[in-house]
Amino acid sequence: MDTLVTITVVSDSKDNAEKAIDAAFTEIEILDKLLNFYSHDSEIANINNQAGISGVKVSADVFEVLNKTLYVSEMTEGAFDVTIGPVSMLYDFHKKIKPSEYGIKKNLQLVNYRYLVLDKDTSTVFLMKKGMLVDPGGITKGFAADKAVEVLKKRGIHSGLVSVAGDIKTFGLKPDGKPWKIGIRDARAVDKEDDVMGTIELKDMAISTSGDYERFFILDGQRYHHLLNPKTGYPALGCRSVSVITSEAVFTDAFATGAFVLGPEKGLKLLERLEFEGVIVDNQGKIYVTAGLRGKIELKKSF
C-alpha cells in the first residue's frame, strides 16, 4: 500500500503479541495484493482489464470492499465513487500534473458507480463500459485496518490499535484502563506531521481523516489535491479536512472522503443521519463537530 502501517497490541505474552502482529501484517499485505489499483496482477487490475468485456470472479474480500463502496456511493449520492479511476489516473501529484479540461470531461463519462455490477451468487464483478476503472484507494486502507484487527482478535488479543496511514481502528482499552487517544492532524501545520488540532478518546471505534494536504500540489495559486469530486473531476473545494468516527474503519475511510466532497454543511448532515461522529474543517478553517462529539473532543482552538 506504500504507506506506513503501525500495529499496537496489549498482551501479557510478548511471543503471542509478536505472532499476532506478524499475522496482521501478513493480512494487510495479502489485501494489498488483491486490491492494489496500480499493480498489474491484482484482482482490481483484472476487473479493470475486463471492463466492457466480461465479469470477473473475485475473492470474498474484494467483493465485500466493492459492495461496501456501492453502499457509500448511494448514501453520499455519488460524492464517493469507486469508479473514479479514469479521472484519478489523469492526475499525478508527484509530478504536479494537472489534466487537461478535455481529458477530464472525456473520462468523466466513464465515472458512474451504477455501471459497476456485482453478482453475489457468482461472486463476479463487471464494469459495463470499456475504459471504466475501479480505484478503491479511498476505502482499502480502512478495510485493511478492520481485517487486521479481526486477525489480532482471532489470535486472542483483546486490546490494540491498527493504523494504516492514519485510518485507525481501535479495540479494547490500554493497560492503564484508559481508551486509546487519537490525535487529529492539523490541516495547515506544514511539514509537522505530529501537529494536532485536537484529540479524541476511542474504545472499539475507528477514525479516519481525509485532508487536502495529503497528496497535493499548488499550481497558479490553486491547490490540487487527491480528493476529487466525481461529478466535476476536479478536487473538491469545500473542506480542508474531514474526520469520521464509527465502529468500522472501512466506513470511516470511505465516508471521510464522501463527506469531504459533499462539503461542510452537507457532510455534517450526512454524518448525523448515519449516526456517525465527525469533525469537519471547512476551507476557511472553521470547525464543525457532530452533536454527539461535543464535550468529548479536545480541541486546541475553540469553535
Binding site: I21, G166, K174
Partner: protein
C-alpha cells in the same frame, strides 16, 4: 537555641581549612555533574528533530538529526548502515535482497523501512505526539 555564628566560622578560609581532600573532590565532582547536566539538558531540548531507529518493533536508537554520523544497526539478517548527514538520513548498506531501503535515498521527514532486516528508521519530530496521543489520523 543555636549559638550566634561568629564571623570567623563563616569565612572562606576557615571553611577551606576544615574541608578534607575527599570533600574537595566530592565538591568538584558535584559541580562538574551539575554543569554537564545543564549542557546535556540544553542538548536534549534543542534537538526537536530526531531519528528513531527500531529493530523488530523495538526502539534501539534515538538520535539527533543535526549530528552527522553513521550508525550500524544489527538486525536479524545482518547490519543495516544508517547515515545521518546534514539533517537527512539514508540507508547506505543493507543485507536485504531487493535493497528498497537503500533506493529510497535521503529522507528528511518520514520513514525508511527495511522489512527483510526488520529495521525501521523514522525521521521527524518525535516525542510530542507520543505524549499527547497514541496515534494520529490525517
Amino acid at each position: 537555641m543555636l549559638p550566634p555564628a561568629s564571623e570567623e566560622k563563616l569565612s572562606l578560609k576557615n571553611l577551606f581549612s576544615s574541608t578534607t581532600t575527599a570533600d574537595k573532590i566530592l565538591f568538584s565532582v558535584l559541580i562538574l555533574l551539575s554543569l554537564s547536566g545543564i549542557i546535556f539538558m540544553r542538548e536534549a531540548l534543542s534537538r526537536s528533530e530526531t531519528v528513531r531507529i527500531e529493530v523488530d518493533g523495538q526502539p534501539e536508537y534515538l538520535l539527533p538529526l543535526d549530528k552527522n554520523r553513521v550508525v550500524p544497526v544489527k538486525g536479524p539478517k545482518g547490519t543495516t548502515c544508517v547515515e545521518i548527514k546534514d539533517h537527512k538520513v539514508r540507508v547506505t548498506e543493507s543485507p536485504c535482497h531487493n535493497k528498497l531501503c537503500m533506493q529510497q535515498g535521503w529522507v528528511s521527514n518520514g520513514a525508511i523501512v527495511c522489512l527483510p532486516n526488520r529495521v525501521v528508521v523514522i525521521v521527524g519530530n518525535h516525542g510530542k505526539h507520543h505524549k499527547t496521543a497514541d496515534a494520529i489520523t490525517g
